[in-house]
């Protein structure tokens, strides 16, 4: 009898723990870049409500937008950080910041977070708002932000008006567009294996720089809007993939010299996010309205992840293979989490938000 009692007690004690472990991701902090309502949505809403401008800070903004957009929308734009082990998110940046990208560098020996926002580049700072805007009026609409994998002092920001580079840890910024025929640059990708080699995805194709971004040459896909660039982490000379708007996915197996289209869904599918690979792990592609596609680490046998259509448009993907987790940021369905390689998905907060980037981070990243 005692044994039975102990087993039952044990079960009652263990079961909740087991349950919560099932719900609990195994990361300390998740950082999310949330875009927030587009200016065109605000303008159209202002037009609808009969005002000249819609005050992005007004208390009932989200309610007003929800009314006109007809969808669940809870979070304005900004940097959101999840509480440890839960799907509760807190805004950690300026309110209503349109944020598309974030990166971390060790510029001063300490981890330092950088935000790429519509207002420019921001970093944690010892002032009442907690952030310093390090760029000026000439830099806006940051689409993507990266640090140089070989030099922590170097940051790359791409914008709707060209590429800007800081070589002194974000203190000064210079535009660096020599050779670019199209200044709308959606994404920038420093090659993690080759120093000073960068790829830039523009509205008019894929560009490459081999001198740290000083000069650019058109590499492939002229006239095609590029949205995402990724490299298989362990391959040499390198397998690369490029996601496009309306022209599907392209692949290079010769280190980025030649790109060919890859059969993935429909020919005209738009690919907004690429991630994964390494150690025989899958490569993932987030698409417009089609959820997630995946293939082997070397890009063989692309197929749609069953059931991922319900994620809608996937705008970023964060695979955490060591923890058996796959996270997806979506256009209008917040963060989604899968514990079984994408077979099933569960909402993981930021309901209705346009999540553009997800990063596992540390609390001290916010330290000025």
């Amino acid at each position: 009898m005692k044994k039975i009692f102990c087993v039952l007690v044990g079960l009652f004690c263990v079961f909740p723990v087991w349950t919560s472990a099932q719900d609990r991701p195994v990361f300390e902090r998740l950082y999310a870049a949330v875009v927030g309502p587009s200016p065109v949505t605000l303008q159209a809403t202002a037009l609808a409500v009969g005002s000249r401008t819609l005050d992005s800070g007004q208390p009932n903004l989200i309610k007003t937008l929800r009314q006109y957009l007809g969808r669940e929308l809870t979070y304005p734009g900004g940097l959101y950080i999840s509480s440890p082990d839960s799907a509760t998110w807190q805004n950690a940046s300026w309110p209503n910041l349109t944020l598309r990208s974030l990166t971390m560098s060790m510029a001063t020996g300490e981890p330092k977070l950088w935000l790429g926002a519509d207002n420019g580049v921001l970093r944690p700072f010892n002032n009442p708002t907690g952030w310093q805007l390090v760029t000026d009026w000439q830099i806006s609409s940051i689409m993507d932000l990266h640090r140089d994998p070989f030099d922590n002092q170097i940051l790359f920001a791409c914008t709707a008006n060209g590429i800007f580079i800081s070589s002194d840890g974000g203190v000064t910024w210079k535009n660096s567009n020599a050779g670019l025929n199209n200044l709308f640059v959606s994404c920038i990708f420093p090659d993690p294996k080759v120093q000073a080699r960068l790829f830039a995805g523009t509205e008019g194709g894929l560009y490459q720089s081999t001198d740290g971004g000083r000069n650019w040459q058109q590499l492939a896909l002229p006239g095609i809007p590029v949205r995402a660039i990724w490299r298989e982490p362990e391959s040499w000379p390198g397998i690369f993939w490029v996601g496009t708007e309306g022209h599907g996915l392209y692949e290079s197996i010769d280190g980025g010299k030649n790109f060919v289209p890859v059969l993935i869904g429909e020919e005209s599918v738009s690919i907004y996010a690429l991630a994964g690979g390494g150690s025989n792990r899958p490569i993932y592609a987030g698409s417009y309205q089609r959820g997630i596609f995946y293939a082997s680490s070397v890009g063989q046998n692309w197929q749609q992840m069953p059931g991922s259509e319900r994620l809608g448009s996937v705008t970023c993907i964060l695979p955490l293979p060591d923890r058996n987790l796959l996270l997806a940021g979506t256009y209008d369905r917040g963060v989604q989490l899968s514990r079984n390689g994408g077979q099933t998905w569960k909402a993981f907060g930021l309901v209705g938000a346009y999540v553009r980037q997800l990063v596992v981070g540390e609390p001290n990243w916010l330290r000025p």
């Binding site: 159209a44 007004q58 309110p95 519509d118 700072f125 002032n127 708002t129 809007p225 708007e245 417009y288």
Partner: protein
């Protein structure tokens, strides 16, 4: 108004001297204006109205109370309330700094400190539109100047007061330079003009000519990009104000901003007396109705007065018939679908005392709220003296051209939008499938809308105030294309649909609808000075004018001979995207289109020199050296010499 030229006789004698003195510019040649007294009275009327009637807490109510030195306790309470929930919106920031600057002498120390802390703890955002960015940087500049000792650690954006001042000044200088070199992007907006004017007037009132941050900063203000020195900031701002108000004065009729606009709203697009610019017209020119807005209050509180020349342009239009007016503006940066980022906007207007017919060349030039052409006529009793046709366009191309997010995502979102923007019955917005050809009092609009485009019809507005319709049958049934005639006061209107059309009643007027994707209209307008009377005008249109319209094979073509014999040929070929305009068999080109040009005003681009002449009164704005000069010239002297 007549008193402007009260000292005309004295000036005429002065003219002779000046004319023979090799056009020596004499500052202050114009007399002091009596209308300044009237302006001061209107300022008081506006402030008194806001003190008495505006009881809901707002920056307008607070500023008026401080300005009137009345109900100060109430003003303090209201301001405390407004400071409890600060917003990052540039409008909030601008209104706050304006209230502070105008009212600080009446604020208790505790409130002043609370305002300062807003600029410390509240993150202000810049926005993506020209008006919001000017608001943001005007606010930042004046706040930095107000609290020059605040270190970076106390500013919301982590920049020192000196850094903020320098950046804001650089933006303002660059914005002004762009406007006088390429033309304004958010141009001629009846809704946004008061915002631009208010920003500049607040700056004009309070900006220091040189940065108040030590010797190094005092020397020059530099822009990061060009390193161009920009001293005399206040003078520059004053000149920019002159430019905006000259622009407005030239193209308004009865206080209504006529012709094409970068940004308009519904219902103001067909009820233009409701537009925000009416506030400015009432304040500065004493006509129309008072609008108690914050922008109007800032204008009223500022010490800036319109110059004689601007006043004369607005109120003393030449009685000698009509004249053509040309302007060049700038397309809002097209991020996608175009390699050229500063595509020009070619504005054209035919201006008379009785009407203005104005247009831009067509195409998609501004996001969402473009107004491509209209006829605005003098009809004081008509609340909606506007006539126009447009193509209601909505697709990812517009979204992708002007906004950075993925066009497909934006399109999905706005396709489900429960507002007017995505609706086929909207009346504001540009279209890439609309092209305009205007010659003086005649305008041809052609539409060549591909099958794949969502809305294939064109839509327009006629006011109920229009008189003497003889063929209009607003029964909602389809009618064959034929001339429609109507009149508004002294404005005679002939409107020719080029395809079948129908007319439905709508608020305050009739909605014109024509379903054909290859479509167009012709509008010819006249006055008794040109056509004796309405019957004679109709006769000439029916007997003299000729219309030859061809549509098919993705091409639209019209040949039109006007009632006075000018031949206009207009081809809009969708296959080759060719648009050809021939006037009397010669190509009508937009090459060398001036920033400003009409009988009253010339702009020399090489010198960046704007000259305004009304009768013998001259005003020259030199945007290269940033100086202003006035003189009295000869009556026979022509502009541009």
């Amino acid at each position: 108004m007549q008193s402007i030229w009260r000292k005309e006789a004295r000036l005429q004698s002065l003219n002779i001297f000046l004319f023979f003195s090799s056009f020596i510019f004499v500052s202050g040649a114009f007399p002091q204006k009596d209308f300044e007294k009237a302006l001061a009275e209107r300022r008081q009327i506006l402030i008194a109205h806001l003190v008495e009637k505006e009881s809901t807490p707002s920056f307008t109510a607070v500023t008026a109370r401080y300005a009137a030195n009345e109900r100060l306790a109430e003003a303090n309470r209201m301001l405390s309330q407004l400071l409890q929930q600060p917003s990052g919106d540039p409008v909030y920031g601008f209104n706050l700094i304006a209230t502070y600057l105008f009212g600080q002498h009446n604020m208790p120390d505790s409130l002043r400190e609370k305002v300062r802390k807003v600029f410390s703890a509240n993150a202000f955002l810049r926005g993506d539109s020209e008006d919001n960015q000017l608001r943001y940087y005007a606010t930042l500049l004046l706040a930095a100047q107000t609290w020059p000792e605040m270190p970076a650690e106390q500013w919301f954006n982590g920049k020192s007061a000196a850094e903020n001042w320098r950046e804001a000044a650089a933006f303002v200088v660059a914005w002004m330079n762009n406007n006088v070199t390429y033309g304004q992007a958010q141009f001629d907006s009846p809704e946004l003009l008061p915002a631009f004017v208010a920003c500049l007037e607040l700056l004009h009132e309070y900006v220091a000519d040189e940065a108040p941050f030590g010797e190094l900063e005092k020397k020059i203000v530099t822009t990061t990009k060009s390193k161009v020195a920009a001293p005399n900031l206040r003078t520059r701002i004053s000149m920019m104000l002159d430019l905006l108000l000259i622009d407005f004065a030239l193209e308004q009729i009865d206080g209504i901003y006529a012709g094409a606009h970068s940004y308009d709203t519904e219902p103001a697009v067909y009820s233009p007396r409701q537009s925000a610019n009416a506030a400015l017209f009432w304040l500065y020119f004493g006509m129309g109705e008072m609008k108690p807005t914050m922008e109007a209050l800032v204008s009223a509180m500022s010490g800036y007065n319109v110059s004689d020349a601007v006043y004369a342009l607005a109120t003393n239009r030449d009685p000698l018939g009509g004249y053509a007016h040309r302007e060049r503006k700038r397309v809002r940066n097209q991020l996608r679908n175009s390699y050229e980022r500063t595509t020009a906007v070619y504005k054209y207007a035919y201006i008379t005392r009785d009407y203005i017919l104005g247009s831009v060349q067509g195409g998609l030039l501004s996001p969402l709220q473009q107004h491509t052409w209209d006829l605005t006529y003098l009809s004081p009793q008509d609340p909606r003296p506007a006539l126009f046709v447009m193509h209601p366009f909505f697709d990812p191309r517009e979204l992708g051209a002007f906004f950075v997010d993925e066009p497909a995502l934006l399109f999905d979102e706005l396709n489900k939008f429960k507002g007017r923007y995505n609706q086929g019955d909207k009346l504001v917005g540009g279209s890439p499938y609309e092209q305009i050809f205007q010659h003086r009092n005649t305008l041809i609009a052609l539409y060549n809308i591909p099958e794949k485009v969502q809305f294939g019809h064109i839509s327009g507005f006629f006011s109920k105030g229009l008189q003497d319709w003889n063929e209009l049958d607003a029964d909602g049934l389809s009618h064959d294309p034929e001339w429609l005639f109507c009149r508004a006061g002294n404005t005679f209107i002939a409107f020719r649909p080029l395809q079948e059309f129908r007319v439905n009643p709508m608020e305050g007027g009739w909605r014109y609808i024509s379903e054909s994707r290859q479509n167009g209209v012709i509008l010819e307008v006249s006055t008794p000075e040109e056509s004796k009377n309405f019957e004679e005008f109709k006769r000439r249109i029916l007997e003299v004018s000729k219309v030859d319209f061809k549509a098919g094979d993705n091409s639209v073509k019209v040949k039109y001979t006007t009632a006075y014999g000018d031949r206009m040929e207009f081809v809009y070929d969708g296959n080759s995207s060719t648009i050809a305009r021939l006037l009397n068999d010669l190509p009508f080109k937009y090459d060398n289109w001036p920033i400003f040009d009409n009988p009253y005003i010339k702009y020399d681009e090489t010198k960046r020199l704007l000259q305004v002449r009304v009768k013998n009164k001259w005003r020259a704005l030199d945007f290269t050296n940033w100086t202003v000069s006035e003189r009295a010239g000869s009556f026979t002297e022509e502009l541009g010499r």
